[in-house]
């Protein structure tokens, strides 16, 4: 089943065309990568899907329902949650408070079990769910540390843990590996792959192509606001349009 369908979305800022025409469909349970050179429109596409920007034209369907133009908090309540590259934690809150805050949309139905359409276990209270997430993301030891004191890699894990608390069906990660050292990278990548076991579909934007290839089932490549290729890691690395986008034309055209 297709969980996210993007149909011909475009975004113009005045005369500048940030996203010209992008379509893609993500089946449930997939880890999809969205890559492209600097300024290719990756982040704009991300904002358009998650509701932080309204597309000039085109539509976004989530679980078969149109979500185009809805506010991000409403989109999140439907099960599509995104993280941000740099600012995805509450810096002055402890790790536990961060994950606790992630349960916001579940807080009004305290007595009922936390609604669940992922394969995450049903847990009756927010406190228990917080502890469960902290344990499974290996953050228990740091539970009472203020988020700003954590090293970058752990902050990234914390941002994923907070997003997990919303219980999303589709998790969109904005450059989850950027700025991390190799050990941190492999740790975060492992955590992301592990989310598949909980039935969570993942769409991640990444600048660092190499690290993406290993964890994504399928990759969409965009450049100049248009999709130029889509396929598995092997297909993508051999695709002439992708090679051209990243390395320039082979016939003496150096940029």
């Amino acid at each position: 089943m297709t969980i996210l369908e993007v149909n011909n979305i475009a975004k113009r800022f005045g005369k500048l065309v940030a996203v010209k025409d992008i379509s893609m469909a993500i089946p449930e349970g997939q880890i999809r990568g969205l890559i492209g050179p600097n300024g290719s429109g990756k982040t704009t596409t991300f904002h358009l899907i998650s509701g932080f920007l309204k597309p000039t034209s085109g539509e976004v369907l989530f679980k078969g329902q149109p979500i185009t133009g809805k506010t991000p908090n409403r989109i999140a309540k439907r099960g599509l949650v995104r993280t941000f590259q740099l600012t995805s934690v509450y810096r002055d809150m402890s790790v536990r408070q961060n994950v606790h805050m992630g349960h916001h949309i579940h807080a009004n139905k305290k007595s009922a079990e936390i609604s669940n359409n992922t394969k995450l276990p049903s847990i009756s209270s927010i406190e228990d769910s917080t502890s469960w997430i902290l344990e499974h993301m290996n953050l228990s030891e740091e539970a009472d540390t203020p988020a700003r004191m954590l090293p970058a890699g752990m902050q990234r894990v914390l941002s994923i843990a907070t997003a997990l608390a919303v219980r999303p069906n589709l998790l969109m990660l904005d450059e989850p590996l950027a700025g991390l050292n190799p050990t941190e990278k492999s740790n975060v990548a492992q955590k992301i792959s592990g989310l598949r076991d909980y039935g969570i579909t993942i769409l991640l934007v990444e600048h660092d192509v190499r690290s993406v290839l290993s964890i994504c089932d399928k990759i969409t490549v965009i450049n100049f606001g248009e999709k130029i290729a889509e396929g598995t890691a092997d297909e993508i690395t051999k695709h002439p349009a992708v090679i051209e986008a990243y390395l320039g034309k082979s016939e003496g055209h150096d940029a």
Binding site: S50, F52, T71, P72, N73, A76, K77, V81, R82, T83, F84, T87, S88, V89, Y90, R91, D92, M93, M101, G102, H104, I105, A107, S159, T162, A163, A165, V166
Partner: protein, 339 residues
């Protein structure tokens, strides 16, 4: 939710605050009897400004420093002043709540444009909204009395043997309302909604992305703070007996902002502490009244430059120092013995 559940779910800090309030109330009730009539007036004005500044703190929890607070309070004052000076005057209680409601409604209306702005722009846009409102007080002469304002505003009728026409009597009225507002706002501050508002202020994008309605959690404190301002405004109209547009200008607004800066806004008590400091300064240097704004300004600059966090941080540090002395004396002394 049953009453029992509500009581058991009440944060401990609120229970302590409630107990503290109950203990302090007799002292606050006795206080005016120890004062001359001049100091009684100072006390009433301080209590009124405390209500104002408590409302202001609610607004700052959403991250914005409004500059329309005093002008908004004016709506409460004008509502009371106009309706209580009619040929068939309205009851004070009706005008009090109506005035607060109108202040809140005004905040709700301007929220749509001003809450789109952040930081300095929020400050400037609320300043503009406040000035527009103050101009309205001047220009709509038929209703507001123009720059002369409205005089002969009666005070409410007393009850339980308290005469609100005396300063002490009116002080009890303001005190009762201030205490109720303080308890409600403090409970609100500690509530889940209160925490969510602060989370939105700390990181709006993240909050929105985890499903928090950030617009609602910015609008609510802005409107709530303005409602509180409306109460203070209405009461001040009754206390002074006359109002004019100058009462709701930038001088009082600056005093509130200065109180929030000097006291700090990360705790509920900060702005009240700041207000106490500014009022003390004002009274000590009453003989040099024209120099008082200079002293306020110097205090603000001093806090911004060398003592960020304000007076509340000084108090918190002092409490942290005193805590082991007060509560763990046994532990402390035994540790000393071993050492």
């Amino acid at each position: 939710m049953t009453i029992l559940q509500f009581i058991t779910s009440t944060p401990k800090r609120f229970v302590y605050a409630l107990i503290g309030t109950i203990i302090a109330t007799p002292l606050l009730v006795a206080l005016p009897h120890a004062l001359t009539s001049y100091w009684q007036s100072v006390l009433v004005i301080f209590a009124l400004n405390t209500i104002m500044v408590m409302g202001y703190r609610v607004i700052t929890t959403m991250g914005g420093w409004s500059f329309s607070h005093v002008a908004t309070a004016g709506l409460g004052a004008y509502t009371t002043a106009i309706l209580m000076t009619l040929e068939t005057p309205w009851s004070f209680w009706a005008t009090l709540f109506l005035g607060a409601g109108i202040s809140g409604l005004f905040a709700l209306i301007i929220a749509y444009p001003v809450l789109r702005t952040r930081h300095y722009y929020f400050f400037l846009s609320t300043f503009a909204a406040g000035e527009a409102l103050r101009q309205a007080y001047i220009q709509f002469k038929g209703i507001t009395g123009g720059s002369f304002g409205i005089s002969f505003i009666p005070r409410p009728e007393g009850f339980w043997g308290i005469d609100f026409n005396t300063t002490t009597g009116f002080y009890y009225l303001v005190l009762a309302i201030a205490l109720i507002i303080w308890l409600l706002l403090y409970r609100f501050d500690l509530s889940r909604v209160g925490r969510t508002i602060k989370a939105v202020a700390a990181n709006e994008e993240l909050s929105e992305s985890i499903g928090i309605n950030t617009w609602g959690h910015r609008t609510l404190p802005f409107v709530l703070g303005s409602v509180i301002a409306g109460f203070a405004g209405a009461l001040s109209a009754n206390f002074n007996g006359a109002i004019n547009p100058l009462d709701f200008g930038s001088i009082l607004m600056f005093k509130l902002v200065a109180a929030a800066i000097v006291g700090g806004v990360s705790t509920f008590f900060g702005p009240i502490l700041g207000l106490l400091y500014l009022t003390a300064l004002e009274e000590i240097f009453r003989a040099f009244a024209e120099w008082v704004p200079l002293l306020w300004g110097a205090s603000v600059i001093a806090v911004l430059m060398i003592w960020s966090g304000g007076l509340e941080m000084a108090v918190l540090k002092l409490l942290a120092l005193l805590r082991p002395i007060l509560f763990n004396r046994a532990k402390n002394s035994s540790a000393k013995n071993i050492g």
